[in-house]
């Protein structure tokens, strides 16, 4: 009797623990959405009420002001360009990294991959001066260059994990069939690496969508700001108008959260492939 009940009790306990974990993870989110739906006076209730009493979309209407739309478009342009360029540069590099097994390539790529751990804050002043010298400050180009640079090492590392699993026999078979090296890469390797490309693209998108330090330093006018910097400005501008602040927070988070849930399996496989298998 107790032999059948004991594991059941254990399972129930663990399920309860999982529910507690869900509570810890979701409570701040719930609070964010709840406050965003409250009319402007309601968040001031003491003690705080979890459920909005008179839910309204007013905050979303005010949050979606013209400047917010500008920031949104800026973020979109910068992020999507970065994703395309980073993946486009990282895939060939990662391919060469896995196929050319020479010490020199290993040493160089070791340095490239190690760069993902550099403190951006420590090198941002020289980069800022370089951008200023080139007249690129306060442009999309300066942000895209910076973002491609910071995401490229991680992207190469993630794609390397996928490419290393494609057997070298594939390349050799293609060579025997008469395909040149470039054609082998485009016609055989790239299609096979699709899951890796998707995972890497999602990762790069999540990183660039929220990047703050470069955007804060390189953009000086409102029309060039990205969403994170715009949000940071809102704090001062709105004082404690938390309803609007939370509504804009929800709007900023939605795109990445949606992409993540759509492509979750491939993304998790990609993030863990490099980290666990080394």
């Amino acid at each position: 009797m107790s032999a059948t009940i004991k594991p059941l009790v254990g399972k129930a306990g663990l399920t309860l623990l999982q529910i507690a974990l869900a509570f810890v993870i979701l409570l701040p989110f719930f609070w964010m959405v709840s406050v965003s739906l409250k009319p402007p006076t309601e968040p001031f209730a003491i003690p705080a009420r979890l459920w909005p009493q008179n839910p309204t979309l007013d905050n979303y209407v005010t949050a979606f002001r013209p400047e917010f739309r500008t920031y949104f478009v800026n973020s979109l342009i910068v992020s999507l360009s970065t994703v395309a360029i980073t993946v486009g540069l990282a895939l060939p590099a990662a391919y060469s990294f896995t196929r050319a097994q020479t010490r020199l390539v290993f040493a160089i790529m070791g340095l490239v991959v190690a760069a993902q751990m550099f403190p951006a804050s420590a090198i941002i002043i020289p980069i800022y001066k370089m951008m200023k010298g080139a007249g690129l400050l306060n442009t999309y180009v300066s942000l895209v260059i910076a973002y491609v640079t910071i995401t490229l090492p991680v992207a190469i590392w993630m794609l390397r994990g996928f490419l290393a699993r494609l057997p070298i026999e594939l390349d050799e078979a293609a060579a025997i069939d008469g395909a040149g090296p470039l054609r082998t890469f485009i016609a055989i390797i790239v299609p096979l690496c699709r899951p890796g490309i998707v995972a890497t693209a999602v990762f790069v998108l999540i990183v660039t969508w929220q990047e703050f330090l470069f955007a804060l330093s390189f953009t000086s006018t409102r029309d060039m700001r990205t969403l994170p910097v715009g949000m940071n400005d809102f704090i001062g501008q709105y004082g404690i108008r938390y309803g609007e602040l939370m509504a804009s927070s929800v709007l900023i988070s939605l795109p990445v959260v949606a992409v993540f849930f759509l492509l979750q399996r491939q993304f998790v496989a990609g993030v863990t492939a490099g980290a666990v298998k080394g």
Partner: protein
């Protein structure tokens, strides 16, 4: 080619399972064996370098070259009043060393990094164990757990500013209703609690990443070893201590170093929560560098702090590669 393609994609779609190496079809293998594979690396050497060049040039020009730039910058003094750089040698290092601020920032960075890394990995590991159980809610929880991590950092910080608010925050409401405090506490405005509040927010935002890594590693643990441990009468805790932890040693070590590096560099959370205040109580290297450089136009002093953080990071990166190399050696043995 077809079977390889589907094999590979299927294994990728298993999600948390490690990817299986796709097996080439027998025909392909025979052809590959029929010819010596020697010609493969030589073929297309030009392409290798063309493929590598853009990435190498970009990372070299935008990350390694600016690093030298930071060192050079630290020998020149600028200020808001006098924006023209003047060579001052090591004077800025002397100035920074002599100020009490430097010591405080080193101390803050240590506290911040140690506690965030410790809690993030501890909670990450425990939740990974929890999500490795077969339970009705496991599938859903595995999806939800990454939410804080994908939330944009600035949004996470604003959310926690709000959670910690003395009048409107959920945390104070909760503590008030339990009678643990008699008035709302301004967690982020007090020098004694601001750092703890920032650490809490960063752990909430960061632990899911550790969870996902440890979860994948847990699924790589040899099931036979666990079963034989069960036969030997090992309990849950004993299995974790004697079988699971030793086999995850390498992943844990790498993850510890990696999260240390990322936490040491983490700018967004503290900048949005407190801007390093109150009275420098939460200033760490990245926020101080930003404030000195872009807030006060003292690029030289900012660069001096930058040189220190590069040195710290160089040590950590060296540790990372040493662990990984020794890990590779363990595996091949």
């Amino acid at each position: 080619m077809r079977s390889n393609d589907t094999d590979f994609r299927l294994s990728a779609q298993l999600g948390f399972q490690p990817l299986e190496k796709p097996r080439p079809r027998p025909a392909l293998r025979r052809i590959a064996r029929a010819r010596p594979p020697k010609f493969a690396p030589r073929r297309g050497a030009w392409l290798t370098w063309m493929f590598l060049a853009p990435a190498v040039v970009l990372v070299g020009a935008m990350m390694y070259y600016p690093m030298i730039g930071t060192v050079v910058e630290s020998f020149y003094s600028t200020s808001f009043i006098n924006p023209h750089p003047q060579f001052v040698g090591l004077a800025l290092y002397k100035k920074v060393f002599a100020s009490g601020e430097f010591g405080q920032i080193v101390w803050n960075s240590c506290i911040w990094t140690v506690f965030v890394v410790l809690f993030q990995n501890l909670i990450g590991f425990l939740t990974a164990l929890l999500l490795n159980q077969r339970l009705p809610t496991t599938g859903l929880m595995r999806s939800l757990v990454l939410l804080p991590w994908i939330l944009p950092g600035v949004v996470g910080a604003i959310l926690w500013r709000f959670m910690d608010d003395p009048q409107l925050g959920l945390i104070n409401s909760f503590l008030l209703s339990l009678g643990l405090v008699d008035h709302g506490v301004a967690w982020l405005a007090s020098t004694s609690t601001a750092m703890a509040a920032a650490i809490g927010a960063a752990v909430w935002k960061g632990f899911p990443f550790s969870t996902v890594i440890y979860l994948a590693a847990l699924q790589n643990v040899d099931q036979e070893q666990i079963e034989s441990a069960i036969i030997d009468g090992a309990g849950r805790v004993q299995r974790i201590v004697h079988v699971v932890l030793p086999s995850m040693r390498e992943v844990i070590a790498i993850n510890l170093v990696l999260t240390t590096i990322l936490t040491f560099n983490y700018f967004d959370m503290i900048w949005v929560l407190t801007r390093g205040g109150p009275e420098n109580a939460t200033h760490i290297f990245p926020t101080k560098i930003y404030e000195l450089g872009f807030g006060e136009f003292r690029f030289g002093e900012a660069a001096t702090y930058g040189v220190f953080s590069i040195l710290v990071l160089a040590l950590l990166i060296a540790a990372y590669f040493l662990i990984q190399r020794s890990g590779l050696r363990w595996r091949t043995r």
